[in-house]
């Protein structure tokens, strides 16, 4: 079932889901949504399965023509979503009819919006995920970003909803140009001087222009190493903060390669990773150290938040 025709692709629009798990040891990155929170919410607002695939829209949005009636939801960064030229609400179920044009305008907050469609985007699952990994040309639409003229398929089994859902305002995240994220220090803390760690935790780091789905190079005060910044390569995960010999940190993100040779001073906690996923060049990032125990209770809170939201949406659906 054809859902949309891509009139304009936007700057960088890809299909993403919760990522490709279980293949790190073969060098296959996780991929998946940079802002997992918003992806999950986009799916929940059209009563999809959590594993369904959505569009991740970066900065300059696409223009899509609907080829049938369906439900969508738009979450994440605010890039002025419109239907037929009229601005529409985010974080809500939207009814779409055949011929409607979905488009985007200027960036108001964050930098990545998520567009879900009832039943999920229908592209082949590769190694258990529909996420696009452009560097290896796997997942999504032929392993690449959207281009004009693409047809987007849905699932025939997905029937439009006979109700609309809306996320209560208290749960809507605010994405500002200052990202505060918690980190667990280590695992190679021994590579850094006390002063180096202090510098890392007490200064703002600015996202440079070299920022994409693989990672962000950050600019700011130089982090002092003990002896050297190079070590024997080992595994890295999204959120790991590597510090090369030049002392300027790099945060690895969803499409990062699975191994790296720079010392890792810390890693961003899972419950804050989505905040970082909305950071764009020139935004400032502040790192706050927490204990592992605290990070785990944060994660539990993060998971509970989805349960509470799910309960509220079920109440609305009745």
């Amino acid at each position: 079932m054809k859902l949309f025709r891509v009139v304009k692709p936007g700057f960088f629009t890809t299909v993403q889901d919760l990522g490709r798990h279980g293949f790190l040891r073969y060098g296959v990155p996780l991929s998946g949504a940079m802002d997992e929170f918003s992806l999950r919410l986009a799916n929940m607002l059209v009563q999809n399965n959590p594993k369904d695939a959505c569009f991740e829209i970066t900065l300059n949005g696409p223009e899509l023509e609907a080829l049938g009636d369906t439900d969508i939801a738009i979450t994440g960064g605010d890039i002025s979503p419109k239907v037929n030229g009229q601005e529409v609400d985010m974080w809500k179920t939207l009814k779409i009819s055949e011929g409607d044009i979905i488009s985007f305008g200027k960036v108001r907050s964050g930098c990545r919006a998520y567009l879900s469609v009832r039943g999920g985007v229908n592209v082949p699952s590769v190694l258990g995920s529909r996420s696009t990994y452009v560097r290896c040309e796997i997942g999504g639409i032929q392993g690449r970003q959207l281009k004009a003229g693409d047809f987007i398929e849905g699932f025939d089994s997905a029937k439009p909803l006979d109700f609309k859902l809306s996320l209560p305002e208290v749960f809507i995240p605010e994405f500002t140009d200052e990202a505060h994220v918690e980190v667990v220090l280590g695992p190679q803390l021994w590579c850094f001087t006390e002063k180096g760690v202090e510098t890392f935790l007490s200064n703002a780091y600015t996202v440079s222009l070299e920022a994409d789905r693989m990672g962000y190079r950050l600019e700011g005060p130089t982090i002092e190493h003990k002896a050297y910044g190079d070590m024997i390569s080992d595994a890295i995960l999204p959120g790991a903060v590597q510090v090369p010999p030049n002392g300027r940190p790099i945060v690895t993100m969803q499409d990062a390669q699975t191994t790296g040779g720079y010392a890792k001073i810390a890693a961003v906690v899972t419950s804050d990773l989505y905040v970082l996923g909305q950071a764009e060049p020139r935004d400032r990032v502040f790192f706050h150290s927490v204990s592992l125990q605290k990070a785990h209770s944060r994660y539990l809170e993060y998971k509970k938040r989805f349960e509470i939201i799910e309960g509220e949406l079920q109440r609305q659906a009745c």
């Binding site: 798990h21 695992p187 899972t270």
Partner: protein, 234 residues
Amino acid sequence: MPLGDQALVVEFGNVISPEVNSRVHALHDAVSKAKLWGVGECVPTYRSLLITYDPIKISYENLVSAINNLEKSLDRYISKSARRKAVIPVVYGGEFGPDLPFVSQYHSLEENDVVRIHSEHEYMVYMIGFIAGFPYLGELPDEIATPRLESPRIRVPEGSVGIAEKQTGIYPREAPGGWRIIGRTPIRLFDPSWQQPALLQPSDLVKFKPVSTTEFQQICVAVSQGNFDPFAEE
């Protein structure tokens, strides 16, 4: 040592050596077989093993003590593990191996000697990384160990076999890279349609076999028909 809130890294010293790497693979084996509830995936590298976990299902402390217990019986896994052996056909030199002349000059060897040394030695897959399916193989004999290019190439073709210091590796697809390229293999190293997407896995043993360009073409055909198994030859 924790890496964030959902992974930990077990380090085995700070050297690249077959002994240390064997212990990494043994622990990987042991952890996989233990099937601990809440443990996700493992990523073995030169001298460390990354283990992901769900902190809601297993606490960090319990995971660490389970790993400590497994480490006590590690020798059992080292001796038990029957390694897979692959033979990788390679056309050395010429347009497929543009850096073979440099490597031989660097060591004052004949090109034939470099090929002989490279293909006589048996390597272990220390880890897979950099790009999907890229095997880091060691240990390369000192006689042909060569530093990386000073400035990396923008494009290294798929199948290229390279040398970097005391390691050798194979590019599973075209990519930028700074390894000294001495040859090319016609076999596929990565295919997302395979159940195990990479041909080689950490701890496999690998030998290279010099072939002619004619054989290269024949193997290319066999590979495209799915009739070539590098693990069958021995």
